[in-house]
Symmetry: C2
Subunit: 232 residues, 2 copies
Amino acid sequence: MNKNGFDIIEVRAGIEAENGRFAALVRELTDREGVFLINLMASPGAGKTSVLCRVIDALSERFGVGVMEADMDADVDARTVAEHGARVVQLHTGTSCHMDAKMTLKGLESFKKPLPQVIILENVGNLVCPAEFDVGADMRLMILSVPEGDDKPLKYPLMFTVSDWMLINKTDTAPVFDFDFTRCEDNVRTLNPDMVIFRVSAKTCEGIGEFTNRLAEVVSSALSKKRKGAGV
Amino acid sequence: MNKNGFDIIEVRAGIEAENGRFAALVRELTDREGVFLINLMASPGAGKTSVLCRVIDALSERFGVGVMEADMDADVDARTVAEHGARVVQLHTGTSCHMDAKMTLKGLESFKKPLPQVIILENVGNLVCPAEFDVGADMRLMILSVPEGDDKPLKYPLMFTVSDWMLINKTDTAPVFDFDFTRCEDNVRTLNPDMVIFRVSAKTCEGIGEFTNRLAEVVSSALSKKRKGAGV
């Protein structure tokens, strides 16, 4: 305990250990049930829900698709997503600014069996806190939108470091913003050399096909491995 | 303690009480030293730094202006702001996704006396967590930018509830986005009937004069009261 009566580090360590235990339970569940779980993260207004609708449209021909909508207390996104034909669970995080593994597990358990083969967690709109919590997902997918600016990897490095795939969304608005794609991507790859990056516009669908085709391949391959692992 | 070995509520209550004590110390300091403190909050990429530069340009004819730049670990904004002639302190928040009152006090104490009459805290880019922490400011000023969408008050209500003034920035990009100003402002006023709202473009300066003139009046009046209260 420090001179102010707190030891924030100990609290954090406790929370992280707790979170790790629940992330392992999430992985057990998704492996056993044959689910590919995507943790979708971005700032407010980067286009999470629009991208999500494109993913549902593209993947639902091949896979059952489910969505967990995490919001502080709204349900506008859940309604939009449900209209696109996905099975939706609304999670209210209350005052929490991110999803953790325990909340994710609770969300997964609320789907009726058999679970959808692809479940996308639309995290709370926040480029900072969700990056700190492993929810046990198979893929961390982040979105940066053109209007946010090409300097964001320098200013919010953790999100860009922990994500597996990144979409640069709203490419259709590039003419009205000074966004240097090469500079942005170079900065991202300095933090995270393995990041898979797509430039897309969820509005015009530019680049969406390339992204969703590649995603379908990765999902298919991962589900096949999970089936073998589960002895199916 | 709950069944998982945690009681997050108690931790939060402790943190809030601690924060409240430091917020009171911040108010004592700014009243004594004759400082008007502004807590500037917004999502990443909403235009905090651009707005800040406009405010410095407008206010520095009448007041000494200082800036505390809170970033997780970058200093790009501090350099931009320093070029506009403000006295700048760079605060690195490390893994913290918001500024609290203790960090704010530390930042204020690092200015050489006499302190600038107006000090603007540029908070971490985050529409969620900074709203939860009273840093002891005289004004909470938030920015929502047009590309983020007019539905954000519904999805991130706390920030819109606790702020005193709100800028809707990037009005120059309205033609390429479906942003309903009236709907947005109505939703804000449902949460917070007293919110003072300006529509601005930090890029083209549209609306900036109206905003900064009104700000200068409020600052002037508040500083006059602080001087009387301090017996100066």
